[in-house]
């Protein structure tokens, strides 16, 4: 069966520091991969999605970037965090262009 791992579960970072969140999927090949952010009182906001290695699409202009160095690995990064980057970050996968999406357990990021 397929599983998705996200780490760390929680993270507290100062403003201006770098960020790296990692997500890996097991038990499937060539998945679609997604990064969403969930802020209090708001719905899930799609940040990035990837249909293959090195292929990244950005949905929202922002301080973040994403990379997919391997088929089942998706990384969310920032060079300098802003206070507004605080939130709950969720990684998800799906069969190629076929929902539903399956989510990891998220990373709670607090920028201080």
């Amino acid at each position: 069966s397929q599983t998705i791992h996200q780490w760390p579960a929680t993270l507290v970072q100062p403003v201006g520091s770098p960020l790296s969140l990692e997500c890996t999927v097991e038990g499937t090949s060539n998945p679609n991969l997604y990064w969403y952010r969930q802020a209090a009182g708001r719905g899930l906001q799609l940040l990035f999605y990837s249909v293959g290695i090195g292929q990244i699409s950005s949905e929202v202009p922002q301080n973040l970037s994403a990379s997919r160095p391997q088929d089942r690995q998706f990384i969310l990064s920032s060079k300098k965090l802003l206070l507004s980057d605080s939130g709950f970050y969720l990684c998800a996968w799906s069969v190629q262009r076929q929902p539903p999406l399956h989510f990891g357990n998220g990373t709670r990021l607090t920028v201080t």
Binding site: Y34, G43, P99, P100
Partner: protein, 111 residues
Amino acid sequence: EDQVTQSPEALRLQEGESSSLNCSYTVSGLRGLFWYRQDPGKGPEFLFTLYSAGEEKEKERLKATLTKKESFLHITAPKPEDSATYLCAVESGGSQGNLIFGKGTKLSVKP
């Protein structure tokens, strides 16, 4: 612009008190509507997919239905363990598999 609106924002029920959650949507060419359950501090857990008006799906005390403009998640005789936030999402024709989510309904079931 594709849009998903869920109501109510919060719902408090007594154990055994049945009710419904609403998800209304505006999309260009609905390809699918999805219901998820999210527990505090966790990622959303997939519940159902609905593809066409008139379709229904059931799982334990939950039943999801779909019309051309909205979907309902009916909860029959809820238990405290049904307490969670329920999210609705849609896939539109031009989305390439990406989902647009509503803000969710937070359900609390008291014993």
